[in-house]
Symmetry: C2
Subunit: 210 residues, 2 copies
Amino acid sequence: MYTLYSDQRSGNSYKVRLALARLGIPYRLVEIDILRGESRTPEFLAKNPNGQIPLLEVAPGRYLAESNAILWYVAGGTTLAPEDRIARAEALQWMFFEQHSLEPNIGAAYFWLCLIKGGRELQRHALEDWLENGYRALGVMEMHLAKHRFFVGEHSTIADIALYAYTHLAEQCDFDLGRYPAVRAWLERVAGEPGHVPMEWQPEPLALAE
Amino acid sequence: MYTLYSDQRSGNSYKVRLALARLGIPYRLVEIDILRGESRTPEFLAKNPNGQIPLLEVAPGRYLAESNAILWYVAGGTTLAPEDRIARAEALQWMFFEQHSLEPNIGAAYFWLCLIKGGRELQRHALEDWLENGYRALGVMEMHLAKHRFFVGEHSTIADIALYAYTHLAEQCDFDLGRYPAVRAWLERVAGEPGHVPMEWQPEPLALAE
């Protein structure tokens, strides 16, 4: 059984919890409080030298980092993975877009405005850039979603899950989605998929003793 | 035959040219001058709404963006793709790391210090962050390469090509690799692989008339 190291408040962690819930795959959850430095302890750095969550133990002692690489791994061969070679590459295209153009902006705004007390004051100089670049990314998504129900093919895939995580938090951190009706409709479509769980959801404790 | 839209000075474009050269795959090259706005014309935006190179035409009228998604696509089934499921996910892990932790720092420093006249003055406030975060990424790479010849498995893969592109430019843009001996040895190993081409290399013109 997988063990997932996750912080409840992390959009990147939510991606993995959402994918596993959608797929009905049981796993053991280890909550890591990144704000208390629990991803920077010697024990955790031995598992992931980059000191980040989410982290998935895919085999005994073998750990996979980077939320979108984890999504790719757990979805392999399931309905969440696109079928043909071009579609699989297109899913990766959107997932790299997410990590390069969306998460560094909406994710950063979410972190500093919603999770860090006084963060808005501390990051006042950066917020304008996050908003400008985040809106630019949302514009690219809007253009695609104006013509397509999901990001790749006719049903939802890991590309949608990757992009959903921070997009669904955008309005909590100063972004106004009013000008993005196709994005809003897509958010509702993803949330309506069978097996969907909200960010607050956690699985039942499976193995408290290790 | 593939058509690749690329800017000669872009590390992200170099990744794709290097992978295609390593694999001996012929392609038609269309040079796009991003500094003259050629990736923001209506014609180009119709191919890639995100306005970025590299861009690969993978089938007539079907375009794939994001350098690492393109690497994944062209390397499928070749010696540059890792073999088993965990190793493939590990390659993606390093490729997402590259786009999230390395390219936004070393790539940004390279762009502003090496390509833009007066860029150093314009970005003086940002350079310190790029150096700090870029060194942090190089530190993670150093720890891995101190124990491994390549990033995934025993031979070089698309993960090495993705990370090579901007790492090999680091010393041109204020980074000192003196404290990263394993990274420097790995750069030499990658450059010594059969089929390797330097960033300046371009393929013979294949089809000047379209």
